[in-house]
C-alpha cells in the first residue's frame, strides 16, 4: 500500500482540489446571502470553513465509491463531484433541481456520483455507509464507502453500532468525524466523554487518527491511507478531523454560545483556503495567480448557478404524488 502524500500531487490535482474548495466556499457564502435575503426556503446548514475535510477525503474517491453525508451536506456533494448548478436549483426547490425540488438542502443527493445523500437525521448515514461498503465487499468491486459524521453525531447509537459492525466485517469503510467543536450550541469537549473522538477507535478495534482539518494536506494524507487500507481489505479507519464552521449551526443562529472573537480569529488564522495557498506557495508548487483564477472561475460558476436557480421551472402540484415508489 503506497500512498501519495498531497505535497507530491501534480499541479493539475492540486488545482482541482483548490477548485473544489473554492467552489464550496463560494457556494456557501452565496447561499448565506441568498438565505438572508429571503430568497431560499427551508433550513440550510453551511459548510464554509470545513472545505479541506470534504475535499481532502473525496479526492481519493471516484464515482463508484460512496459517501454518506449529514445535514451539512453541500460541501460533501461538491467534493464528490455533484453538479453545482443542479444543487443550487435544488436549494431553490426547482423542478429540475438535482432532486427535482423534493429534497432540498437537507436531502441533497446524487446516486450517480456516489453521493448517497445529505441526511437530516443525525446518525442516519453511518449504517448506510456500512451497507455501501458491504455491497462493495460482497460484489468484490474494490470500492469504498465513507461516512461523514459530526461530533454531535458521534454520540448517536447508530454511529457506534456502525463502527463495531464495520470493524467485525472488515468492511472497506472510512468513518470521518468532522469535529467542528459544536453540535448546534453544545460543545464536543463536553458531549464526547473521552474528550477526543479519535479516542474511541480502539474500542472498535480500528486504527484512528486525528488530523488538522484546516490543512488540506493533513486530511488528504490521512484519508489516503485510510482509503488505501480499506481498498486493500484492511478494514475500516476512524479519522477525526478537527475544524470549525464559519457560520452558525444553521442560518439564523446568533452563535452567542461561541467566544466573542472566535469566528473572526478563525477566518483570519484558520481558513483552509488560505492555508492551502500558503503551503503550496511555501513548497513552490503553485502560484497565487493560478489560484486567483480558480477563485474567479468558482465565483462565475456560482453566478451561473444562481441565475439558473432563479430561472428554473417550478414544480407543479401534480408532482406531489410521483416518485414515492418504483411501482405501486
Amino acid at each position: 500500500m503506497t500512498v501519495t502524500s498531497a505535497l507530491q500531487l501534480n499541479r493539475e490535482k492540486l488545482i482541482e482540489a483548490y477548485r473544489k474548495m473554492a467552489t464550496i466556499r463560494a457556494f456557501e457564502e452565496r447561499v448565506h446571502e441568498l438565505f438572508e435575503a429571503g430568497e431560499l426556503p427551508g433550513f440550510v446548514h453551511l459548510y464554509a470553513g470545513e472545505e479541506a475535510s470534504a475535499v481532502g477525503v473525496c479526492s481519493h474517491l471516484d464515482d463508484e465509491d460512496r459517501i454518506v453525508s449529514t445535514h451539512r451536506g453541500h460541501g460533501h456533494c461538491i467534493a464528490k463531484g455533484c453538479d453545482v448548478i443542479g444543487m443550487m436549483k435544488e436549494l431553490y426547490g426547482a423542478a429540475d433541481g438535482v432532486c427535482r425540488g423534493k429534497g432540498g438542502s437537507m436531502h441533497i443527493a446524487d446516486m450517480a456520483k456516489g453521493m448517497m445523500g445529505a441526511n437530516a437525521i443525525v446518525g442516519g448515514g453511518p449504517p448506510l455507509a456500512c451497507g455501501a461498503a458491504l455491497a462493495a465487499k460482497t460484489l468484490g468491486t474494490g470500492k469504498v464507502a465513507v461516512a461523514f459524521t459530526g461530533d454531535g453525531g458521534s454520540n448517536q447509537g447508530t454511529t457506534f453500532e456502525s463502527l463495531n459492525f464495520a470493524a467485525i466485517f472488515k468492511l472497506p469503510a472510512v468513518f470521518v468525524f468532522e469535529n467542528n467543536g459544536y453540535a448546534e450550541t453544545t460543545s464536543s469537549s463536553w458531549s464526547v466523554a473521552c474528550g477526543d473522538i479519535v479516542g474511541r477507535a480502539p474500542a472498535f478495534g480500528m486504527p484512528g487518527v486525528q488530523v488538522d482539518g484546516f490543512d488540506f494536506f493533513a486530511v488528504h494524507d490521512a484519508a489516503g491511507e485510510a482509503v488505501a487500507r480499506a481498498r486493500a481489505g484492511g478494514g475500516p479507519t476512524l479519522i477525526e478531523v478537527k475544524l470549525a464552521r464559519f457560520f452558525g449551526h444553521h442560518e439564523g443562529d446568533n452563535q452567542s454560545y461561541r467566544a466573542k472573537d472566535e469566528v473572526e480569529v478563525l477566518r483570519r488564522d484558520n481558513d483552509c483556503l488560505k492555508r492551502f495557498r500558503a503551503r503550496t506557495a511555501e513548497a513552490k508548487l503553485l502560484d497565487g495567480k493560478d489560484l486567483d483564477a480558480v477563485e474567479r472561475e468558482a465565483a462565475a460558476l456560482i453566478d451561473r448557478a444562481v441565475a439558473a436557480g432563479r430561472a428554473a421551472p417550478r414544480p407543479t402540484p401534480d408532482q406531489v404524488p410521483t416518485d414515492v415508489y418504483v411501482s405501486y
Partner: protein, 337 residues
C-alpha cells in the same frame, strides 16, 4: 380582561409555572438551554425554537438539562427517572427523530405498568415538534402521532390553541402516565388567544367544540383546526353550517362528543395533516362508521395529504398540506350527498 398570548408564550408560561409548582419536574433535551460546555453564553438558544428560553436561569442546571445527541439514552433516562421519583419533561426536538429512540417509548414507558401488573407509574412527558409548512422536507415535517396513538399505554395530546396548549401541558405534567405532547411548529407564532395567567388544567379525553353547527361535523387536529374554521367561515356564506370539533387529545379520544355531533349533523368530514394510511382520519372515520352509522346521511370524507413523504419545494408542500379550500370542497360534497 383578555390576556392575549401566542401558542409559544402560553407554553413557555406553562413550563415555568409547573416547574415552580413542582420541584420534581425536570426538563431535558438537546440545546434546551444551549451552550453546554461552550465558551459563550449558556441558555444560548433555549431550545431550537426558543421554547425553553429562560428556564435554566430560573431553575438551574440541575433541573434544566442539555443532552448529547443520544435520543435513546436521554429519552430512556427520562423514562427511567420517571419511575424513580422525578417527573421529567423531555424534548424530542422533532417527532421525525422517533426512529432512533422509539423503543424506550413504545416498549418501555408504554408497557411498564401493564407488564409489571399495575405496579409501576411512569409520569414522563415527551414534548415534540411536528408538522409541515416550514419547507423542512421529508425528515423534519411529519406528524406521526398515529404511530403513538396506535400504542396502548401512551397518551397523545395535540393542542391547537394557546389556551389548550397551556392547560393541556399542565394536565400532562401532572398525569401519572407517559404523555406525548405534540406541538405544531407553525402554530408557535401564528396563533394567539386568550390565556388566563393562573394555572389551569384541561382534562384529557374532552374534545372542544370550537364551532357549533348543524349541517356537517368536521373533526380536525392541530393546525387543521384553524383551517377547518377558515373553511367553516367560508361555507357559512353558502349557508352550510359546520360544526368543528377538536379532539385535543387523541389518546384518550373523546368518542362521545364526536358521535353526538354526527348524530346531530349526520355528516362527517375528518381532516388530518398526518399520513392517510392507518392515520387519525381513518381512526375517527371508523369509529363513526361503527358507532353512529345509523345517523349517517352521507359517506364520510377524509381530507389528508396523499400517501407520500413531505416534499421540499414550497409549491409542492403547499399542495401537499390539506387546505381550507380542500376542506370546504369535501364539506360541500357531503352536504349535498
Amino acid at each position: 380582561m383578555a390576556r392575549i398570548l401566542s401558542y409559544r408564550q402560553a407554553l413557555s408560561e406553562a413550563f415555568r409555572q409547573e416547574m415552580e409548582r413542582d420541584p420534581t419536574i425536570i426538563m431535558m433535551g438537546e440545546d434546551i438551554a444551549g451552550g453546554k460546555g461552550s465558551p459563550g453564553d449558556q441558555d444560548a438558544w433555549g431550545g431550537d425554537m426558543g421554547m425553553t428560553k429562560g428556564l435554566i436561569g430560573r431553575f438551574g442546571e440541575r433541573r434544566v438539562i442539555d443532552t448529547p445527541i443520544s435520543e435513546s439514552a436521554f429519552i430512556g433516562a427520562a423514562v427511567g427517572a420517571a419511575t424513580c421519583g422525578l417527573r421529567p419533561v423531555v424534548e424530542l426536538m422533532f417527532v421525525d427523530f422517533i426512529g432512533v429512540c422509539f423503543d424506550q417509548i413504545f416498549n418501555q414507558a408504554a408497557k411498564f405498568r401493564y407488564m409489571f401488573g399495575g405496579k409501576a407509574r411512569t409520569p414522563v412527558v415527551i414534548r415534540t415538534q411536528m408538522g409541515a409548512g416550514y419547507r423542512a422536507a421529508a425528515q423534519h415535517s411529519q406528524c406521526l402521532y398515529p404511530l403513538f396513538t396506535h400504542i396502548p399505554g401512551l397518551k397523545c395530546v395535540v393542542p391547537a390553541t394557546p389556551y389548550d396548549a397551556k392547560g393541556l401541558f399542565m394536565t400532562a405534567v401532572r398525569d401519572d402516565d407517559p404523555v406525548i405532547f405534540f406541538e405544531h411548529k407553525v402554530l408557535y407564532d401564528t396563533v394567539k388567544g386568550d390565556v388566563p395567567e393562573a394555572p389551569y388544567t384541561i382534562p384529557f379525553g374532552e374534545a372542544a367544540i370550537v364551532r357549533d353547527g348543524k349541517d356537517v361535523t368536521v373533526v380536525a387536529l392541530g393546525r387543521m383546526v384553524h383551517f377547518a374554521l377558515e373553511a367553516a367561515n367560508a361555507l357559512a356564506k353558502d349557508r352550510i353550517d359546520v360544526e368543528v370539533i377538536d379532539p385535543r387529545t387523541i389518546s384518550p379520544l373523546d368518542e362521545s362528543t364526536i358521535l353526538e355531533s354526527v348524530e346531530k349533523t349526520g355528516r362527517l368530514v375528518v381532516v388530518d395533516e398526518a399520513y392517510p394510511r392507518c392515520g387519525m382520519a381513518a381512526d375517527i372515520a371508523s369509529l363513526v362508521a361503527e358507532q353512529a352509522f345509523d345517523s349517517l346521511k352521507a359517506p364520510i370524507r377524509k381530507v389528508t395529504p396523499p400517501h407520500t413523504p413531505v416534499p421540499f419545494a414550497p409549491e409542492l408542500e403547499d399542495a401537499y398540506i390539506p387546505s381550507p379550500a380542500r376542506i370546504a370542497e369535501a364539506v360541500r360534497a357531503v352536504a349535498k350527498a
